[in-house]
Structures are given as structure tokens and as C-alpha cells.
């Protein structure tokens, strides 16, 4: 008897305890903006992981900025990493040979090395390392060390052992060898002239990874903290799926030192949680990947600034030119291009938040034009019907088209968009579309192997900000780092993909070798026009990216685009520009 009564009491007591705890916990709501943080003693940069048992009540004016993101860190080895989030962190704790001025994607500046000088024949470039380069733990950089570490990009075995293999895309196709000249110069010997090569040197792969942590013969994807480099920050703590903590690197001698005491990069599992967190003040900055809807919602919140970053990932349709597919017929391809209503896509699916893309090269890049608009004036149902009829289709003999898409990988909005495209094509009355949803890992190989779909949707983000990178992967068929279709492995080295007009390949090589900017722009323009006629791919739209930050967080007003915290069209988020005012 007593026992049972006692058990009720225990339950009641526990319940009461929980309520009390909750009430006490109420202190935590809505606090923790940067200036009122009840943070503990800061860790020092060169010491071992912080001693955290000190009193948390100690209020220190720790100038900390918390950045929220939904990206995961998957690789911090610069010879491997290929994802935006990874590059962002690498460029924080390490500095590449060259860099772009924060906020622009066109102004190249010296990084740890001087601006490059090309040889007369354009086949080699030389950069000179700055003096006094020291890693965050005190290790001095020598040119031999630099060259050895850079050669990790060229090491095919090492590359093959890693998941992302950035060397296969951004080094090996262009570079023949890397060597040291004198005691401070690095020479890159190229396979062929490439006017845009300096831009490649401004990427994360061309940072010098610390030799103690990133060995010559082994990749180290997620080293344990602390992670040292030549950049303005040191990573003092890292929990891959949750948090990364960065603190200023006292040995940094470059142009963009840290302006605050600590940066915490906090990962969220989904964008709405991140949106809520920035709204409530739990984080200071929200960057990647916030949808247009969430961003729009946040615009009405006091104390938050929402900015759009124009240059963005693109969505496009891969069109299969191989024999045996209905899209092998150029009339069919052109009809498909003519029937698409990009404005409707933008309005219906995204509420107008995405910009229709009318050429493979997005606006703002050298030579970009509106090739698809000029060619088709889409939506042009009359033209589409005309072309289809010429191709032999009619009401009783409709074009049967399979359209592949990944339902979740690019977000649901892309999937909605694809379905709307299907409806638009069917509005011609001569097409029947079978939309096939396939889970990403199956889909991606099916879409690019050229054996499965006549049309499928993919996304693309540039590796380096140049028109070359929007054209080459879709025209050249050398199997490395290209997206072009090579059904049944039909593409060989340096050969354009099956069925694609060889003029495209020629124009591509011409513009690559051209050093005069105006002439190059013209060539690129011609390239796009032929591209549109051939319908190599069908560009759809540009997805915007948003940055949201609380009042009090500022960028550097002396640099371009301070309103987006100096994130320019190249999507580089340089943490060093961040500062707290007020």
C-alpha cells in the first residue's frame, strides 16, 4: 500500500522538478547577441583546447560572431576539398597564392604570393612568395615545402584515394608540372595557354597545407583541432557536424587580418531551423542555404538585414544528343527550348525569386549574352509546334519524352520546377512527358552517363569565376570533370561529345587562348550562339543566395559590396572582414 502511494508521489515530484527546471531555464530565451554574451574565458590561439571548467558566470566582453549554415564540413584537406563550405573554411585558416578582393570576383590580389607573371608563350606562370610566411604554430614556410605540398594536387594516386579529387579538375587538366625556382618563386608549367589560370590560383586548392598535418602521401580530410595555416584564423575547435570555432592567427601577415576575437560556425540540419535561429538572435549571420521563402519572411523582422547575392548556382537541363534518343533530332531539341516559359517557372515555383537564365554563361561574366532568347523568344509555342510538326509529330503521334529529376537533392522547388516544365511542354499538345523521380545517388550517374534519359535536370556552380567554366564542362568530352554525355563511353581524349557541332570545340579552344579581352568576349558570344542553336543544354534559371545578418554586424565599407558583408558574385565569404559595431 505504502509502496504504491509512494510511487505516485515520486512521479508527482519528478513532474514538479521538471517544471521548476523549465522555469529556471527561462533565463536563456532570446539572449546571446554578440555584445551581451555570457561567454567564458576565451581560449588562446596557441594553447591546447580550452579549459572549460572555469566559471561560466564570468562575463567577458568576448567579441564573437556566430555564423549559421546548413552545410557540413566534409574535407579540410586543400588537395581534396571541392565543396563551397570546405573552401570557405580553408580560405579562413589558410590563404591561397592569390586571392580575389573580398566583394568582387574580378579584382585579383596577391595572396601569399605576388600576382603571377606569364611567360611569353603563355605556357608557364610564375608567382613569388612573400617574405616571412609563418604557419599558425610557428612553422616557417619554404618554397620547397610549398611546391611539395602543391604537388599533392598533381599526385594521381593521392587524388584517387580521396572522395572529392579536386586536383583532377583544377590542376591536372591544365598544369603539367610545378617547380621551385630560386628560393621564393614557384613556376607552373601548363599543358596549353590558359588566360584564366591566375583565377584558378585564387582557389582553395592552391593553399599550402601544413606539412605536419597534411602528409605528402596521405589525405587528411578532417584533422583534429587545432588546425594551423597561413591565413588570418586558426581553427581551435571542430565538431564536424555541429560547430567550428576559429580564433585569430597571430602569425598572419597578409592584408585581411581578423577584426573580432572569435568566430563560431554553427551547423543546422535544416534551413528553417537556421532561419528561426537568426530571427531569435541565437546566431548573428545566416549564410547558405536559405531558400527564397525563408529569406523573404525574415525581411520583415526588426534588426535583421537580408541581402541577395546575385551570382548563383544555375539549374539547367542536360539534353542527350546520342543516337537512339528522341532528342538526337535537333528539331526536337529546339522545340523543347522554345516551349519553356522561364518567367512562369520563376513566378509560380519561386514567387519570382529566381532569375531566368537565357544563356549557359550567366550575366556578369565576360562575353555573356542572351543566346537562347535571341534564338527562340521562348515561350514560343507556335515555333515549338512548328518544329515538332516538321520533325514528324502530330496529335496522334505525340513525342514521348522521359524527364528525369531528383526529388530532394536540389530542394523541392527544383522538383516543382521540373514538373512545371513538363506541363509547359505538354501545352504544345504534341508532347507527352513522363517525369521520373529518382533518388540522387542513382540519378546523378544515370543523368550524366548518357545512357538513360533524354532530358534530366542538374545544377552547376563554377569552380572558378570565368565563362570557361560554364562552357568547357559541357562541350569537351575528356571524361574528367565534365558533365557532357558520352553514351557507352564514346568520348575519347580531347574529343567533343558525340553529336555536338565541332565548331563548338574549336571556338572553345580559340577563346581559351585569346588574351585580348574584347576579342575573347566576341568569341564567347559566338560560342553561346552556336550553343543555343545546337541546344547543348537548356539553361533554366539562376538561384539566388541570401545572406542575413543582425544589426551590429558589418563588413568592410572600403571594399566592394559591404551590404552583403563583402560577399561578391564569387560567393566567397571572407570572415576577416566581419566586425561588430555598437
Amino acid at each position: 500500500m505504502r509502496r504504491t502511494r509512494l510511487s505516485w508521489r515520486i512521479i508527482a515530484l519528478l513532474g514538479a522538478l521538471a517544471l521548476v527546471a523549465a522555469a529556471c531555464g527561462g533565463d536563456d530565451s532570446g539572449d546571446d547577441t554578440t555584445t551581451t554574451t555570457a561567454a567564458p574565458a576565451a581560449t588562446t590561439t596557441t594553447a591546447a583546447p580550452s579549459d572549460t571548467t572555469t566559471t561560466t558566470e564570468a562575463m567577458m566582453d568576448d567579441r564573437t560572431i556566430i555564423i549559421g549554415t546548413t552545410d557540413t564540413v566534409s574535407s579540410l584537406d586543400s588537395a581534396d576539398a571541392y565543396a563551397t563550405a570546405d573552401w570557405e573554411l580553408i580560405k579562413a585558416f589558410n590563404e591561397p597564392l592569390l586571392r580575389f578582393q573580398p566583394g568582387s570576383n574580378s579584382v585579383l590580389e596577391p595572396g601569399i604570393a605576388s600576382l603571377p607573371v606569364a611567360s611569353d608563350d603563355g605556357l608557364s606562370w610564375e608567382v613569388t612568395l612573400r617574405d616571412g610566411l609563418v604557419f599558425g604554430d610557428g612553422l616557417e614556410l619554404t618554397v620547397e615545402m610549398a611546391v611539395a605540398q602543391l604537388n599533392r594536387l598533381m599526385d594521381t594516386d593521392l587524388q584517387a584515394s580521396a572522395p572529392n579529387q579536386v586536383g583532377n579538375t583544377l590542376a591536372i587538366p591544365y598544369v603539367e608540372s610545378i617547380e621551385a625556382v630560386g628560393d621564393d618563386t614557384i613556376r607552373f608549367n601548363l599543358l596549353g595557354p590558359a588566360g584564366f589560370f591566375p583565377q584558378i590560383l585564387a582557389g582553395a586548392p592552391y593553399t599550402i597545407a601544413h606539412p605536419d598535418y597534411f602528409a605528402l602521401d596521405e589525405m587528411n580530410l578532417l584533422p583534429t583541432a587545432p588546425i594551423y595555416g597561413l591565413g588570418p584564423w586558426t581553427i581551435t575547435e571542430i565538431t564536424a557536424a555541429e560547430q567550428t570555432v576559429l580564433e585569430p592567427n597571430p602569425f598572419y601577415t597578409g592584408s585581411y587580418p581578423a577584426r573580432v576575437d572569435r568566430i563560431i560556425v554553427q551547423r543546422f540540419a535544416n534551413p528553417s531551423a537556421m532561419a528561426d535561429a537568426v530571427r531569435e538572435g541565437e546566431i548573428d549571420v545566416a549564410w547558405r542555404i536559405l531558400g527564397a521563402e525563408a529569406a523573404d519572411d525574415l525581411k520583415s523582422v526588426d534588426g535583421l538585414t537580408v541581402e541577395t547575392i546575385p551570382q548563383a548556382p544555375i539549374r539547367y537541363l542536360i539534353v542527350n544528343h546520342a543516337d537512339g534518343f528522341v532528342t538526337a533530332d535537333p528539331l526536337v531539341r529546339q522545340a523543347l527550348a522554345a516551349a519553356i516559359d522561364r518567367d512562369e517557372l520563376s513566378d509560380v515555383v519561386f514567387g519570382g525569386a529566381v532569375t531566368p537564365l537565357l544563356s549557359p554563361v550567366p550575366p556578369g561574366f565576360l562575353g555573356a549574352n542572351e543566346a537562347f532568347e535571341d534564338a527562340y523568344q521562348a515561350p514560343n509555342l507556335d515555333l515549338a509546334v512548328q518544329l515538332l510538326t516538321d520533325a514528324g509529330y502530330s496529335e496522334s503521334n505525340k513525342l514521348q519524352l522521359d524527364l528525369g529529376y531528383p526529388p530532394e537533392h536540389y530542394g523541392v522547388t527544383t522538383a516543382d520546377g521540373v514538373l512545371l516544365v513538363a506541363q509547359q511542354w505538354e501545352a504544345t499538345g504534341l508532347i507527352e512527358v513522363n517525369a521520373i523521380a529518382q533518388e540522387w545517388s542513382t540519378y546523378v550517374s544515370n543523368c550524366t552517363n548518357g545512357d538513360t534519359y533524354p532530358v534530366c535536370v542538374l545544377g552547376w556552380f563554377f569552380d572558378f569565376p570565368d565563362a570557361e567554366n560554364y562552357l568547357q564542362p559541357f562541350i569537351e568530352g575528356d571524361g574528367l570533370g565534365t558533365m557532357v554525355l558520352c553514351p557507352n563511353d564514346s568520348c575519347g581524349e580531347g574529343v567533343t561529345a558525340t553529336g555536338i557541332d565541332p565548331l563548338l570545340g574549336q571556338l572553345l579552344l580559340d577563346q581559351r587562348a585569346e588574351t585580348d579581352l574584347d576579342k575573347r568576349a566576341e568569341l564567347i558570344g559566338q560560342l553561346q550562339d552556336v550553343y543555343a542553336d545546337e541546344v547543348v543544354t537548356i539553361p533554366l534559371w539562376l538561384e539566388p543566395e541570401f545572406i542575413i545578418y543582425r544589426d551590429g554586424i558589418v563588413g568592410d565599407s572600403s571594399l566592394p559590396n559591404p551590404q552583403t558583408l563583402n560577399i561578391g558574385p564569387d560567393f566567397e565569404f571572407i570572415y576577416s572582414v566581419l566586425d561588430i559595431t555598437g
Binding site: 505516485w8 519528478l14 513532474g15 527546471a21 580550452s50 561560466t56 564573437t64 572529392n164 540540419a269 535561429a277
Partner: protein
């Protein structure tokens, strides 16, 4: 900390002590019964793990493409397949897998940073535990309390309204309830935080050993962290707990009603013993045992609900991890996670069974 170690520490020590006591003090037949139960559990876990293994291998979906992306060269593909052991015949892979499980070697994740799964689960399992334990407490508490109350006041308003409540609450999709609660309490009223287990900045002050944040904060005397953890825990635990309370109220009610119909209760009443005494000391005391047992076996439901709750509240637990890994075809991670799930459920069921057999005199062994 190795996730299995965490599990063993929390459940193993008391279970081991109990088992030890039972073995030393119990009768011969009790010992045999317990051993039979253990012997029954092992093949069950084996089957569960094997099912998942083969199901995963049968999946279409190229783990290589998923890892390398579409830009992979053939050489890279071969390398990866070799590194992951995917070029061995299926049976070989299977036995290797079994061997790994027995030695608690959970392997490395295929995807992204290729972290040892032990590390990943070591962070996630405690997170899930910290969600389901409070949820279970809420569900159990309300379930037992209200279920008994409904049974005693049978066929009266209280009974019907409680039954209605339990059915309504059980019918709600967990994620819907979670979203609504979040909207009301986190967004409109601002009483609870939005997501996560702990406040972002406080997190940097907390030294983790067990990864059970509540325990860690208490051990290190970090009271701010403890408050933050509790604060974050309320809404997810309430969501999961409320929905399950519907189930538990029903179960309790039926069991108590059945007990109240038992001969010995009626005869006690007939003998003139006071109603109150009959109810509490005779009926309820005995009803509690099967009730708690049945509820203890609902761990599976708890875990299933946890998956959805973790998704809604951005809780970095094993359920969410599992879903992420399935999408990327990370076999190793999925297998290991499922193995840990299965072991976990099996251990609890075993423990509950043993306790039940000891406490309930009706069980013959």
C-alpha cells in the same frame, strides 16, 4: 566515447547487478529461464541486423557516385570500391560485417569526411537517449496516472474523456504536433528555443565526456549549461511524450481493468475489504507489473517516434543521422546505426523480461 560503451554504462550496470543478484539468489529454474531468454534474443538481433544488411546491399543506388559525385574517373571508382571493401562477393562482406559487429568495430563512414562511425554515434546516441528518456518519463507518468484513473472511474465521464484524449493524441502525426507546438511555444510565445540541444555559445563552455549533455553539465558543475540543456529539451520531449502517452494510457487502462476483474480482487471485495484498499493494494499493485512490462517493450515505438521528433526539432540524434545516411547510401553508417538500435532494443526488452519474470509470481519458469 564509444556509443556502445555509453549504452552499457547506463543500462548495463544496473542490469548486470540485477542479473547477478538473480543468478546468485534465484532458483535453478530461474537461471535456466533467463539463459533461455538471452539465447532467444541473440538470434533475433542477428536476424534484424542481417535483414538490414541485405536490404541495403540490394538497394539500387551507387554509393560510389554518391561519394564521388558524377565527375569520378574509373580509376577513382575502383579505388573507392576497394577501400570500402565493396568488390568482395556479398557473402564475404556479410561475414566480415558480422565479425565487425561482434568486435564492436563499427567501421568508418563512406561519405564526406569518412569519420569513424564510433565517433559519430558516440555523439548521436546520447542525444537520442537524452530525448527518449525524458519523453518516456512524460509518457509513462501521464500514462500510468491517467490510465489507472480511467480504469478506476470506468464508464464515467472521466474514463470517456481520457479515452477520447488518448485516442486524439495518438492520432496526431508526431511531426505535426511538434511543428504546432514549436509554432506556439517557440515562435509566438518565445518560451522555448527553436532548435538544437544547447545554446550555441554555452556549448563552447561545456566539456563533454559522456555526451549526455545533462550529465556532463552536472558533472562539471556547469549550471548555465544545464539550464540551457533542460530548456532545449522540454519541447521535443513533450512532443514525443504526449503522443506516446496516448498509447500508454490505453494500455494501462486495459490492463488495470482486466486486473480489476480478476477473481482475487472480486473475492477480496466480497470478503468485505474496503474498496480503497482493494483497489490500491490488491489490484493496482499487481496490475502495475504487466503494465510496466508492456510499456517497457514499447521502446521500439519510442525510437520510431524519436526519428520524426529529431527531424522536426533539429535534434542531432541517431534517428536523423540514419535518415541522412540512407539518402547517401552510406552502408557502413546505416548498418552500424541499425545494429546499435537493435542491440539497444534487445537489451531493454531482455532486462524488462527478466524483471517481469522475477516480480510476477504468475510466470512459470
Amino acid at each position: 566515447m564509444h556509443p556502445l560503451l555509453t549504452v552499457f554504462l547506463i543500462f548495463g550496470i544496473p542490469a548486470g547487478l540485477a542479473l547477478g543478484w538473480v543468478f546468485l539468489r534465484g532458483s535453478e529454474s530461474l537461471r535456466r529461464y533467463i539463459l533461455t531468454r538471452i539465447a532467444h534474443t541473440v538470434p533475433m538481433v542477428l536476424i534484424q541486423i542481417s535483414i538490414v544488411f541485405f536490404v541495403l546491399r540490394v538497394m539500387p543506388g551507387d554509393v560510389v557516385s554518391s561519394t564521388l559525385g558524377p565527375k569520378a574517373s574509373d580509376a577513382a571508382r575502383e579505388n573507392i570500391m576497394e577501400a570500402l571493401g565493396l568488390d568482395d562477393p556479398l557473402i564475404v562482406q556479410y561475414f566480415k560485417f558480422l565479425g565487425d559487429v561482434v568486435t564492436f568495430d563499427l567501421g568508418d563512414s563512406f561519405i564526406g569526411a569518412r569519420r569513424p562511425i564510433t565517433d559519430e554515434l558516440g555523439e548521436r546516441l546520447p542525444a537520442t537517449l537524452e530525448l527518449i528518456i525524458p519523453a518516456a518519463i512524460v509518457a509513462l507518468g501521464t500514462g500510468l496516472l491517467f490510465g489507472t484513473y480511467a480504469a478506476i472511474r470506468r464508464k464515467r465521464t472521466a474514463d470517456y474523456s481520457l479515452r477520447l484524449y488518448s485516442v486524439i493524441v495518438y492520432s496526431m502525426p508526431i511531426f505535426w504536433l511538434g511543428l504546432l507546438l514549436r509554432l506556439v511555444f517557440s515562435v509566438w510565445l518565445d518560451w522555448t528555443p527553436i532548435a538544437g540541444r544547447i545554446d550555441v555559445v554555452t556549448n563552447t563552455t561545456l566539456e563533454r565526456t559522456t555526451n549526455l549533455l545533462l550529465v556532463d553539465s552536472i558533472i562539471t558543475g556547469n549550471w548555465a549549461a544545464m539550464r540551457s540543456v533542460l530548456h532545449h529539451m522540454i519541447l521535443p520531449a513533450m512532443t514525443l511524450g504526449l503522443v506516446l502517452s496516448g498509447v500508454f494510457i490505453r494500455l494501462t487502462r486495459i490492463n488495470v481493468i482486466e486486473t480489476l476483474q480478476e477473481d482475487y480482487v472480486i473475492s477480496a471485495r466480497a470478503r468485505g475489504i474496503r474498496e480503497r484498499v482493494v483497489t490500491y493494494s490488491y489490484a493496482l499493485k499487481n496490475a502495475m507489473i504487466p503494465v510496466v512490462t508492456v510499456i517497457g517493450l514499447q521502446v521500439a515505438i519510442l525510437l520510431a517516434g524519436a526519428v520524426l521528433t529529431e527531424t522536426v526539432f533539429n535534434w542531432p540524434g541517431m534517428g536523423r543521422y540514419l535518415i541522412e545516411r540512407i539518402s547517401s547510401r552510406d552502408f557502413q553508417a546505416v548498418q552500424s546505426t541499425v545494429a546499435v538500435f537493435a542491440l539497444f532494443v534487445a537489451m531493454i526488452s531482455l532486462a524488462v523480461d527478466v524483471i517481469y519474470s522475477v516480480l510476477d509470481p504468475r510466470v512459470k519458469y
